[in-house]
Symmetry: D2
Subunit: 331 residues, 4 copies
């Protein structure tokens, strides 16, 4: 049984708190938020204690683990303090928007060998995970090419864009991590971006559409395409191609119904929209994996290093956008 | 908040007890089973009280509703007693294997206007329900034909067959109910059966394969095909055809992964197997609907009459098997 | 090289004449039609001789084979005369609407051991043929159930209905033959019919919708469903189910394009409509098979007996409609 | 009626000669090849005259059009001479491997305003064409992203690689043209290549795998992925994404059969392999379009300029490979 405190009771924190509450080997002990009332509301729903401060959580010997679901700018501080307090940490991505801070964080806590897991939920999606397991079992032979399609249903508001660190650090970071999950370390990146969806995003100095090509140390080539808008829902697909064939993982829909009529046949529902629905099973499996790690001491599938490497790729992608050239990643 | 006692702690009872336990507006108060230890085990898992007798459940004013998941031969007695005790009843199908007992049961309790819901879980499957809702919304115009495919992964043991009432009362009863769910009352039935899967089943005087045609009062024709064996899993599909087109509801699989190779392309996983996995969401939605009925007094989507009519169709199908002729159902 | 005369230059005759003309080992020598001008028009298009009479065709030693594409009431006479004249015969289905005339025809010509092939084009559809070949290769193990879906896009005019011999002899006859193609001889039939599409058809004493169940001598059960209307095109599908799994053959569409939008995803074109488009490849392969039979003396995949058996099934189906009972076919 | 001479009687020339022969408004008058016997063989099959020289074809007033299917190094010379002789020209891609020669060719013949069509057969594929027509009809709104998947079944022999001009000029050239067909002129290109399939190809100084990103003048981004090997056949797909949704065009298979079994479900045939089978309908439609252009004076869908622009993109891609940087195309 792993006892959790959830730090941050916004939308994503509430979802994780519920998932922790329903996990057979996890218990939700306390919840904390800087916004008055947020923790109280969640406490009323789930029966966990309202924590008066982060220190209360970190000082409580009953609490084994903290789930950090607060704003990005607080992650490094909370990871550091929690690691020093001997708590296991599951932190939402990204670790930080600044790679220097991320690296400094690890210099400070790395010697403690803390259990820090980063919430790259897509690694736990049953279909993406099955695709990866089948690759590792040799079904494709050597993987030669991967295509990752990742499109959000609709652009976020300007305020969100402003604090997001830009498309690559906010959205593509998941795809960079997926690339690494499937083909390992990346050595080169080329990126092309555009603002095709919403001029507001250009106004914020960001892009809303991107096409990226990566080269892995293994030799494999990976393509990522992103858009901040997708009329048919949250488009999340992977195609991996190798010597012996191809594996695809497709979108999920609310039903299996197909409609056949005079205008069209085999028409299906729009795809699940948005991440809380699409990755429902993944978020549950993420908690389950973390609980396993806490209980057994196993290394998490997405540790601190995964968070750092995905951010390095985002930064390299931004440099490629700026220079138009291929960027080589030092190892 | 609706408080439940679960009567019968076998596999299906345990599943429902867990679903009740996780429903936000339902509570599991007590569990009962005639087999020593079964209720204790479930109680230990879920924290509900072990009930010493059915009467203890029916006499407890805290308990609003009973879930009857005991053996078929106990259903009529338990429904009757629970209805008289003023409890809401959710009972697994079938009500009984003997239509005379079913009708006698209703004569005894009907005037009490009890809330009795029968566990025709497939009515609550999100895809089947969406198919029906879209029919009712007029997407097909008048429904002309329905094809119901319903195949179990593997035949049950001889002992189960012996007490099952035969294929039609045990397995097809779900499909008879589905036919009524989609096109309303049935007026004619023709059935052809065979033992193609397992000679043991013929030895028990039962069939393991069937093809049935029904005519609805609406004029629609319905085909049901059944098998007690299906190599690729639990095959559960519906196709409804009307003036304006067709709606299909398909099987569900564990992942969305497709495999492409030298031998085959677009190959997917075997389908979910068996009912607890396939109809997981349906069983949850069934509890949810029943809780709604208890709280609001609404009529359940599958009441006592649905249980009786499905059994009448099973009996009529058996008569058609015996005579080779069409059997007309009196209304 | 096989030289053909085409008797009957209506729509279907013209199609076959063009297919013969483009076959590398077939030649179109002459065309004949009772309607003035019809043969002339086809001759102008394809360069074949206009024949003044059937006798001119049958008496011409250059002509190896006749394709009978004239009206159904002329088939028996033309088959008989052509067989006696030593010509190979490829005749559109049905042989006749009257089983007595069909049997008399064979009594008259059977001893000549003529090459008579009946135009059951669906046997030559690449997908249906592959499905059958894979069954025969053992992919399903023993075949237990078959579902044949066969729906025309729209009802024909009253005049056509009047001369058609009814749904079973006109349309279902193809499905009866398909059943025999897949599972062999049929021993029992149950049929249910209705007029759900067009009251005109009821006025003509015919039905426009049917659901049929057959039992094969092998033990397999077969379901056929028919409609004279299908909003999404010409619905032609087969599903064969056996010990080891299932094979399905699906509809064909003009393109592989899928459309994804806010209302629906994966939407495809309506299916090919009507038989000339849907079975284009089948008609070509039918000619090819017949040419092989003429050249090598092989038995055709669909001989006179297939035409007779399909008609017997149509008649038995009509009897089942009338009596409501199962009809057993004498062997 | 358009009379053709076919210059070059290799595999592709023979295919086109047959297609011309079976086109209702085209006639195959003569065939020519430098290899002794090749023209004779084709003449024997199709009945066309064997031409003793290119001049004999160009000097014959009966001949309206030449189909140039000889080796790439002869294309520019033959296009030039045919254009000067007033013949309509349909030439296999590429025009040449050297952009300077291509531009010189047009300087020489451009003022004659000749009808020169380049054999970009994929523009005529019914599915790709439908996808484009639907884009132009506004189904997607503004096109934002396109993904072109293009993989050959197996690498060609070393000798072919040596004379091919490299992956981009030989294989990707079709995809560059497809990109222009769908989104218009291209202004930027980034390319990443690798040799993952066959070391022989690296030995020849070529690559066998590539991922490319293009930016169109319209703003749209286009991704192309290529491989010289594909276990499941000739992988040819397009995905176009816009404001209102997505259109996909998929691979084609020999049958519609799906197989369901204990190991996998919905498994389909490998895809059609290779270009002559996959693009059979496209090649027929290409001839048809060219005949229309000859008869009506319409501009071909793929003129000389399309051949030149695709080659410029190939050259720019090679430059990007070399420099690792984005290459901007001058307009």
């Amino acid at each position: 049984m792993v006892s959790f405190a959830v730090l941050g009771c916004g939308r994503i924190g509430r979802m994780h708190a519920r998932n922790i509450g329903s996990h057979p080997r996890a218990g939700l002990v306390g919840v904390y938020d800087v916004v008055p009332g947020a923790a109280e509301e969640l406490s009323a729903e789930l029966g966990a204690r309202v924590l008066g401060s982060v220190d209360e959580a970190l000082g409580d010997p009953v609490i084994d683990a903290v789930f950090i679901a607060s704003t990005t700018d607080t992650h490094v501080d909370l990871i550091t303090r929690a690691a020093k307090a001997g708590k296991a940490v599951l932190c939402e991505k990204p670790i930080d928007l600044d790679i220097a801070r991320v690296e400094a964080c690890w210099r400070e806590i790395g010697t403690l060998d803390p259990l820090v897991m980063i919430g790259f939920n897509r690694r736990f999606d049953p279909s993406f995970r099955a695709l990866r397991d089948r690759i590792q079992a040799g079904e494709l032979g050597k993987v030669e090419q991967v295509v990752i399609t990742s499109r959000d249903p609709a652009p976020p508001p300007a305020q969100y864009i402003r604090g997001s660190g830009g498309l690559f650090r906010d959205m593509t970071i998941h795809d960079f991590d997926m690339a690494r999950y499937l083909v390992g370390d990346i050595v080169e990146i080329q990126a092309m971006g555009a603002t095709l969806v919403d001029p507001m995003i250009a106004g914020e100095g960001d892009i809303d559409s991107a096409m990226i090509v990566l080269r892995a140390a293994s030799g494999a080539l990976v393509h990522i395409n992103n858009s901040r808008r997708c009329a048919y829902g949250y488009d999340q697909r992977i195609e991996a191609f190798g010597e012996k064939g191809m594996l695809q993982a497709h979108n999920r829909r609310p039903t299996t119904v197909e409609s056949w009529g005079a205008e069209r046949t085999q028409a299906r529902d729009p795809v699940l929209d948005f991440f809380i629905e699409r990755y429902f099973e993944a978020y549950m499996a993420e908690i389950d994996h973390f609980v396993d790690c806490v209980e057994t001491g196993a290394k998490p599938l997405a540790g601190f290093a995964e968070g750092r490497e995905a951010l390095r790729l985002a930064d390299a992608g931004l440099e490629s956008l700026r220079t138009g050239g291929v960027v080589r990643l030092e190892r």
